[in-house]
């Protein structure tokens, strides 16, 4: 497929990696793209490693396989670095975004010599500062939007506000916190 960006998410059940992938499909759709957002399901249980995927393309997406050679990988839980081969198939011209408080030098040894760009963000710090609780998916979503440059940041924030207003219609009190988490994450990812 031409002009198709493929993204793979690694998280643990309950952290919202699947939701983040679906939200990314949502916002990319709003920019006029053809999108796919889908989870790979194993036994569903809290804490088990899960994978989710995005395809974002200028053309209709027909392929229905998982993604093996992504441009980007998002690691929502850094403990996965020890058990999952997160850079498998990851293109060198792409990038990996990892949720960690550690400096990059401590992360690199886990990436099996990956030669592409490595970005980190402390999603716990962002989430706790903005929401008072640990929900890593909003910060990680903002981080991957920033790293991929998929869309204009202001447009992203506007679309996310509309999306949260729909998603959190029954608990509007969490919308502002999530919006702050997105804005802060756009600044924090490095």
């Amino acid at each position: 497929m031409k002009n198709c960006v493929e993204i793979r998410w690694h998280g643990r059940g309950g952290q919202g990696a699947k939701t983040a992938a679906l939200l990314l499909a949502d916002v990319a759709f709003q920019t006029g793209k053809y999108v796919q957002g889908f989870p790979e399901y194993g036994p569903e249980r809290m804490g088990a490693p899960i994978t989710a995927y995005n395809r974002i393309s200028d053309e209709v997406v027909r392929v229905h396989s998982n993604i093996y050679d992504p441009e980007y990988v998002v690691v929502v839980d850094e403990t996965l670095l020890e058990t999952v081969d997160v850079t498998k198939g990851l293109k060198e011209e792409g990038a990996i975004v990892i949720n960690t408080a550690k400096p990059k030098e401590e992360i690199l040894p886990h990436l099996k010599g990956y030669k592409g760009k490595v970005y980190t963000i402390d999603a716990r710090k962002v989430s706790v500062a903005c929401l008072g609780k640990y929900f890593p998916n909003s910060p990680m979503l903002a981080a991957i939007v920033k790293v991929t440059g998929l869309m204009d940041e202001e447009l992203f924030l506007n679309e996310m506000r509309a999306s949260f207003q729909h998603k959190f219609a029954s608990k509007p009190e969490v919308i502002e916190g999530n919006m702050r988490a997105l804005s802060m994450a756009l600044e924090e990812v490095q």
Binding site: M1, D26, F29, V35, Q36, Y41, H64, S65
Partner: protein, 393 residues
Amino acid sequence: MAKRDRLSGNEAVSYALRQINPDVFPAFPITPSTEIPQYFASFVANGQVDTEFIPVESEHSSMSAAIGASAAGARSLTATSSCGLALMWEELYVAASNRLPVALALVNRALSGPININCDHSDSMGARDSGWIQIYAENNQEAYDNMVQAFRIAEHQDVRLPIMICQDGFITSHAVENIELLDDGDVKNFVGEYEPENYLLNPECPTAVGPYSVTDFYMEAKRAQAEAMKNSKQVILDVAKEFAQISGREYGLFEEYRLEDADYAVVMIGSAAGTTKDAIDQMREQGKKVGLLKLRVFRPFPAEEIAEALKNVKAVAVMDRADSFSDHGGPLGAEVMAALFRNRSQAYAINYVYGLGGRDVRVEDMEQVFETLEQIAATGETGDTYRYMGVRE
């Protein structure tokens, strides 16, 4: 005005059901179809439909309630997957033989065991001889469009048969993709009011539904059922033609993708057809004449039409997402090969079992299938016509 949106396959089918606003929807949850009654229940709670939604205690009950409602004269449906369909087994035959136009939103999932929640077609393929019309989808758009057309086909006076609208579990049911949705008013007009000819709650014309049939009548009842299935083919095409007028999207009994001049063809059902299209485009760029026949309607089985569409191919691979354990091939393979034989086809034909329990199908896998066909045509050696794709031996 049609609306561009992005929805998962389950959301898309639920959206169609809200627009259809059926009379009765009994349901029992099972992965991966659970979201359909779940979303629908919120439409009921929000007053967006006036459907009688009945949470029941099993799939045996959900299909029984749908049948009872349909016999009473209501437009009814339910949704299920896998073992849920298995638990409806007796009722599937009851619905079909009583000529009740019940609809079933089926989200295909492997039927045990080992227990598995992911996609294959072993659930619906097992029900292929139950007398239900079966229509399959490649993606969320087709699942939505097929659902909108379902009752028009099932309720047609020449048909009056139950209909299964199938999509691939998780692969399309849980994948968010772009979709074009019709206006509520257009769907409402298209589907229309259900006006059954005979029904239990008609005091003017008392009838019995489901009585014992003595040997002297049983076979005539089955013959009439077979005739209805035969009739359904034309009705499916007529309804599709009318649907194209409101949607701009055309459907037939199957889709031919770059098949017209193809030497090598794949026949398959469901979401992997999209992946196969990508493989075909890549191989066509290398000058290889490859094509796809994606079956939409498995019951009734369009045998003559398939044989006609494949008449010029040198070799064909029929892809089954279910095994029959016949040691001879899967259900689609058996039917396609019989159709080819009846048409005196000289093409080489092989039958793959693939994608069981959600086993992923990659573009590369399908390229390899086409390369195998090329080799078979070149050497004249078919090898084992019944084989597995993408399995550790």
